[in-house]
């Protein structure tokens, strides 16, 4: 049986039978009580020292269907059996770890996720032909663990618009603020996956895990609390900035801020995401698709000839425009009309009695030009950073490490 988002039900892969997961008895209870012997606490078998070492990351469980032994990585709570491919959910492990209170079931099917990624790749003008035609090597539906926080945030922010100060006194409440609780994944990647609409969350049921993979949380609560505070501040500040009239954006500077906040963890939930990996010359590029909204996150390399051509063409065009401007205004002829003696005079003047006003003008022009150049490089670097996130080996391993079929 696998959970099928299109039916919002469990579907048998053999007979096609569709079953409402809510109609099933609690699978966790069922598996825990199916044997005569009670499940053994791992602490009774392994010493505390061993628990904190490598052994804790690799335990062997028995597949409930074929009896084969399944190796489960330290933070994994559900997987496929590597022998029979059944969706063997390791219920003991869930019972020993923090059981999520809520889960947002997959609404986007694997086909829809693939289509969303393919549509993005096909519409990109700088996307190399390889990626437009490439078939994904790994597709994984993974539930990512999140802590949900509740609380409030208030701040008195003072802005300066030229000489004029003005104050915004704002406050807001947060409900179900998600903080990703898995250390392996880059926070930046999962931040981009949001928003998740947590009003669609349902009480956790192991049935939803069938056919998918999931990780349990391994982030310390203190760290999660810090991330919640920072995240709330970012959201709050963005909202305050939207209140500033557009025409004042460039002239406005925030000069002071007195934030106050209080957050408490309200629950622990699993949120859905598709991990789609395309391999190019041994380098994996992983795209994430929000399993609830279908939002695609990822960056692909670009066609170097096209991008190089664009930069060269725009540089030549802008340079010609600038030369034309200088020619039209007669300034260029002035520069070229300078004879050697004048140049040498200027040179002497520069070194001996350089005018302070001229010096400031030259410095100003130079700094302005460098600022534009810096902004250009920064924009380019941002795209490069996003590309590095997509080919992050950690993200790839996160999805690849889960056993089972490749697609």
């Amino acid at each position: 049986m696998e959970y099928d988002p299109s039916f919002d039900s469990l579907v048998c892969q053999s007979c096609g039978n569709i079953i409402d997961p809510n109609s099933l008895p609690d699978a966790n209870e069922f598996y825990l009580n199916m044997g005569e012997e009670e499940p053994v606490d791992i602490r009774e078998v392994v010493s505390e020292d061993e628990l904190t070492g490598e052994m804790y990351d690799c335990h062997i469980y028995t597949c409930s269907q074929c009896g084969g032994e399944v190796i489960v990585s330290g933070t994994e709570v559900s997987t496929r059996c590597i022998y029979c491919g059944s969706t063997a959910v390791v219920f003991n492990r869930i019972a020993k770890e923090h059981r999520p209170e809520y889960i947002v079931p997959f609404k986007i099917t694997k086909e829809e996720a693939l289509k969303n990624v393919r549509d993005k790749l096909l519409s990109g003008i700088f996307v190399p032909r390889f990626f437009k035609k490439a078939e994904p090597t790994v597709v994984r539906g993974i539930y990512i663990p999140y802590f949900l926080y509740e609380g409030w945030y208030k701040d008195t922010q003072r802005f300066q618009m030229g000489e004029t100060p003005f104050i915004y006194d704002c406050e807001c409440d947060f409900e179900d603020l998600p903080v990703e609780a898995c250390k392996v994944l880059a926070d930046k990647t999962t931040d981009m996956l949001e928003p998740y609409f947590l009003n669609e969350k349902v009480p956790f049921d192991t049935s939803y895990l069938m056919g998918f993979y999931s990780n349990i949380q391994d982030l310390e609560l203190r760290a999660a609390q810090g991330i919640a505070n920072i995240k709330a501040r970012d959201i709050f500040d963005r909202e305050v900035w939207t209140r500033v009239p557009r025409s004042y954006f460039r002239k406005t500077k925030r000069v002071s801020s007195v934030p106050q906040h209080e957050f408490a963890r309200s629950s622990y939930a699993l949120l859905p995401a598709w991990f789609i990996t395309i391999d190019k010359n041994g380098t994996p590029y992983t795209f994430l698709v929000n399993g609830q909204t279908g939002k695609v996150v990822g960056t692909v390399p670009w066609n170097r000839f096209l991008v190089g051509g664009l930069i060269a063409a725009s540089f030549i065009t802008l340079s010609l425009l600038s030369v034309l401007l200088f020619v039209k205004s007669g300034l260029l002829s002035e520069i070229f009309a300078m004879d050697k003696s004048l140049r040498s005079h200027i040179s002497r003047k520069t070194s001996d009695t350089f005018d302070t006003g001229q010096l400031y003008s030259v410095i100003g022009i130079g700094m302005g030009a460098l600022a534009v150049l810096g902004a250009g490089f920064a924009k380019f670097k941002k795209v490069l950073d996003n590309l590095n996130l997509s080919r992050s080996i950690v993200t790839f391993i996160f999805s690849r490490k889960r056993q089972g079929d490749a697609k």
Partner: protein, 56 residues
């Protein structure tokens, strides 16, 4: 004169910067997905008070 010369040289640096900026913007739209931050549904009841509206 030296200022004009500086402005002339600077115009090429600006042209290079603008070229990279343009390429970056187009690349972000074409090859980078999901980097735009969207409003969070977790935020409820945003209230603004004591705004010095007259000075805006």
């Amino acid at each position: 004169m030296i200022v004009i010369l500086a402005a002339f040289i600077a115009s090429f640096v600006v042209a290079l910067g603008l070229s990279f900026l343009l390429a970056g913007v187009l690349l972000e739209r074409s090859n980078s997905y999901g980097s735009k931050k969207e409003s969070s549904p977790s935020m409820k009841r945003f209230m603004v008070s004591d705004v010095n509206q007259k000075k805006i």
